[in-house]
Subunit: 249 residues, 2 copies
DNA sequence: TTCTTTCTTGCATGTTTGTGCCTCCTTGTG
DNA sequence: CACAAGGAGGCACAAACATGCAAGAAAGAA
């Protein structure tokens, strides 16, 4: 077995099982533990895996770190994101702010997509590295690490010069009466600005966010164009639809 | 059997079996191993296959972009970065642009550091997520995916409003006479701007970058304050020191 | 054709790489 | 602390490699 082939196997196994033990790999791949150790060391130097005593762990891109902290409801979020995919078409200018659901969405975007993405979130920008035909415009500002978005005066001013066809809003809390709200003032201000420069607005919310509120109101619910939710529930659905929102579930 | 024909067979076999072993091919195609080696070398140069020790694998995506470079030579870069650590002190405003060496440096910064980091590179910003007392200011712009930095007018203008104590320059090529140079014009412009707003400038270069030049000059060598290199070599060292640069090795 | 020029191939050479083993040091855990 | 498991660095060796060279094949040109 070739060295590269073996190292690829190790990475595959690691992705599958989330951890590997050197002594175990040695048996499974029929090479000495020394060789495995050398492989793990090389892969670690390349930043592909994270070496630890007696084995290795996944070196998930730092992107994962922040999504991990946000709670690992990834499967639901990923499903929501899938429903949003066909709202994004070639040639559009899409404004995407932070949030793990939005990140999931970006991961699912087809590599062939040709459009412009404006974002104030470094993880979102980085997730678009391999989309050759997507032009990424980053909005600067002061990095707000809790949500991994840039905020502040600079962010505000930069947005002032732009227009977007679709704003995909990272949503914390939403209530049919009070609207969308977030826990920090500066986030609210920036989101409000983003709302004002976009033709259409999309919000994706997991069930646990429906009918909850936070400290700072971004905008009333009726400013949303699309709302993507997990389950149907006719009552809730009509509650939002009566405000002119297209509810997708 | 003609050479072309044989090489085509090799590619076909590779596509079929996902890997080839030189010694094996030698028998199957009834030519010496040297010939096979030469074939593999040629095909690799053309980017058609990926040469590895003792055989070859199918070629991945052809580009050598940021993610590829991120994997290269990390040990050396990491060593360079270590030498830079004590130039960064609490309270400073540090401007850090892109590059894998700079990323290595950021990874090594102590979590207790209290300072302000200005950067136009999303990966650098994200790497500082866990540094609670480091304020990160991101400079926006159009994301240049090859080096993962923001460039363009917006970047330029945002920098205009700032000042930094130390600029840690991501270095591509450096030559004692011609100075620091990079392959793209917009990168050169932004780096030049960064140079002009910083009190001190630090460049870290691996040996292979020394005494090489690229298309666009950023600044003459004597504008650097510190140069961190791998090895000593008294000749080269004095060459730079004569220009008033502190060379650290 | 015949001669010259360029390619291609196999071989001999010295070098590099990958691997296993050994010794000594480090880490984690009771 | 003690002790076992894991790791670092060096050594040895075979397989794989690069390189120069010369014999032969292929392709033109006279």
């Amino acid at each position: 077995m070739l060295k590269q082939e073996r190292q690829q196997r190790i990475v595959d196994i690691l992705n599958e099982e989330h951890k590997v033990i050197a002594s175990d790999l040695s048996k499974r791949l029929s090479v000495s533990e020394d060789t495995i150790r050398r492989d793990l060391k090389e892969l670690d130097n390349q930043g592909i895996i994270k070496r630890v005593h007696s084995g290795a762990l996944r070196a998930g891109p730092p992107v994962e770190d922040f999504s991990t902290r946000q709670g690992m409801d990834n499967e639901n979020k990923s499903n929501l994101a899938t429903k949003a995919l066909n709202l994004i078409k070639d040639g559009m200018v899409v404004l995407i702010d932070g949030g793990t659901t939005n990140l999931q969405l970006v991961h699912q975007l087809p590599l062939s997509l040709k459009c412009t993405v404006i974002t104030n979130s470094p993880p979102i920008a980085m997730a678009l590295t391999n989309h050759e035909d997507v032009e990424v415009i980053m909005i600067g500002g002061t990095l707000f690490k809790q949500s991994m978005v840039n905020l502040g005066i600079d962010t505000f001013e930069a947005l002032d010069k732009m227009r977007a066809d679709l704003y995909i809003m990272g949503t914390y809390k939403i209530d049919p009466q009070l609207g969308v709200s977030v826990p920090s003032l500066s986030e609210a201000l920036v989101k409000r600005k983003m709302t004002s420069i976009s033709t259409e607005i999309l919000a994706m919310v997991t069930d646990d966010k429906l009918d909850t509120i936070s400290n700072h109101i971004v905008c009333p619910t009726d400013q949303l164009t699309y709302l993507i939710t997990e389950r149907v529930n006719a009552d809730i659905k009509s509650l939002y639809e009566r405000q002119g929102i297209t509810v997708i579930d």
